[in-house]
Amino acid sequence: MKIAVCIKQVQSRDSQPRLDEARTWVREQDAAFEMNEPDAYALEEALRLKEKHGGEVVVCSAGPARVAQVLREALARGADRAIHVQSDAFAGADAFVVAGALAGAMKDEAFDLVLTGLQSDDQGFGQTGVVLAERLGLPHATIIMDVQVGPGLVRVKRDLEAGWFQWVAMPLPAILTIQSGINQLRYATLKGIMAAKKKEIRTSAPAAAVAPKQRIVALYAPEKSKKTQLISGSPAEAAKELVRKLREEARVI
């Protein structure tokens, strides 16, 4: 089975994004980047499917040159090769632009199954996988917690919110967006890291530019919906004061 995994490189979760001068995007110069965590679950699921059914795992990403780092990491975890659609314009691009670039690079590969995370940790559109499905003319299902592959079809467990689930079957090839927590992630071994150095990353320019469908007019720190009483002091003092306020002011304990 030939499986593609679409991966986004995003700013590290642990870093506070800093605004650029125009205040419409974040400063990339001093940012740390990592593999979008939901995509890491999609990669893990693809590697498990390959272990079970055989075949090939190809990781695909649309982004600037820096994206090669997460592709290399995916290869170290066990992916077989990588496709990188490279353009600086993809740094803060919307889901239509990214899905259009990926569709162009993936359409001739004849993948049996395409996996990606349910959303990204940066812009969080939650659209790219589904838009890609439409662009490639494939059936899709989203927010998937289990994947069972049979001859010519896939049966998947959809998360329906609030503890409800549903099994859905569809013909292959198909696109799935994977829910975080579907599996336990593996980390790259030293052997994997060494092997990755010999694996292919095919870099190409986008075939045709896709017009953006949305534009960030302003980016800013969130407005508080509540007036927070910040309690300062040493841990012991702050803890004592918090307990006092919860007892005497909020009266909730």
Partner: protein, 326 residues
């Protein structure tokens, strides 16, 4: 015209549909609002929705729309949009919407702005449409976003951002009209089975008076007893954000957020939870919210009544001590 796409499961209306109606009415000003409901035999749901002060409720009624599939809904809505020519579609930001709305937008080649928590009209010139406000970077930043390209634009309204009880009701019921649409069942590729719940939930967090909830800041499973100790001292239930349950450190039934439980206790104490939107929607209705987090920029502080910026491993034991001294 603004067209709201209502959501129901087997005739039971999802409350988030009323929130989307409230959002559409607020945004509409003098523009008409209509509501569309899809399914098979949706008459009762349409009647329920007709209580809203809207121009009309339209039904997209076809056996091929029950049960829900993204292929069926996309085909039906494409025909409805062709007939109604709305300027804007507003949908509740549910998992079902997330499943079909990007496909519909791609089919129409129109802008889709997801996770919208508000809108701005004032800062735009004449003729320009509204800006839509949405969280980015896990809620650490907020963006004002403009859709690009021709109408209709699609917008999904984040759960809890507008109040269902603020949807205006009409003095008389709105007219209900059945649209003529056809869904070719053979063209629907997804074959869904009946929805089910995983093993009956042993813990009903929605009934808890006090909840101590842990997030990534707890760092490792071995540190959980610290949070458990605080929960015991407060006579509280222990809960967690999604990553903790993903890692298997606590069972999924203790997860608070969009894919877990929605809670509104008297006290919600968040330990090391950054406050991504998916978590906030599950707990922001709590009466008193306390956040303890080492990151002063964590979005959890936006909804907190009380906050301590610091190391939870120092603060929590000190709280347990303080609770022991009356």
């Amino acid at each position: 015209m603004i067209l709201v796409i209502a959501e129901h499961r087997s005739g039971k209306l999802n409350r988030a549909s009323w929130e989307a109606v409230a959002a559409a009415q607020r945004l509409a000003a003098s523009q008409p609002v209509a509501i569309a409901v899809l399914g098979s035999n949706v008459g009762a749901v349409a009647t329920e929705l007709a209580a809203a002060r809207v121009q009309e409720v339209v039904t997209l009624d076809d056996p091929g729309l029950e049960p829900y599939t993204p292929d069926g809904f996309t085909a039906a809505l494409q025909q409805a949009i062709d007939q109604l020519k709305p300027d804007l579609l507003m949908l509740p930001h549910t998992y079902q919407t997330r499943d079909f709305a990007p496909k519909l937008a791609a089919r129409l080649d129109r802008a889709l702005i997801t996770d919208v928590v508000g809108f701005k009209l004032e800062s735009r010139g004449a003729g320009a449409g509204p800006l839509f406000v949405r969280p980015m970077f896990q809620g650490k930043l907020t963006a004002d976003v403009a859709p690009e390209g021709p109408a209709p634009h699609l917008v999904t309204v984040q759960i809890g951002s507008f109040r269902a009880d603020q949807a205006t009701k009409g003095s008389v019921a709105a007219p209900i009209r059945a649209l003529t649409i056809t869904v070719d069942a053979a063209a629907v590729r997804q074959k869904p089975e009946a929805p089910f719940q995983e093993a009956r939930q042993a813990v009903d967090l929605s009934q808890a008076e006090r909840i101590v909830s842990v997030g990534r800041g707890i760092k490792e499973a071995d540190k959980l007893p610290i949070a458990r100790g605080l929960a015991e001292a407060l006579h509280a239930e222990l809960a967690a954000s999604r990553p903790i349950c993903d890692a298997g450190w606590l069972p999924m039934e203790r997860q608070v957020g969009s894919s877990g439980q929605t809670v509104a206790p008297k006290l919600y104490l968040a330990l090391g939870i950054s406050g991504a939107i998916q978590h906030l929607v599950g707990m922001k209705g709590s009466q008193t919210i306390v956040a303890i987090n080492k990151d002063a920029d964590a979005p959890i502080f936006e909804v907190a009544d009380y906050g301590i910026v610091g190391d939870l491993f120092e603060i929590v034991p000190a709280m347990i001590d303080a609770l022991k001294q009356t």
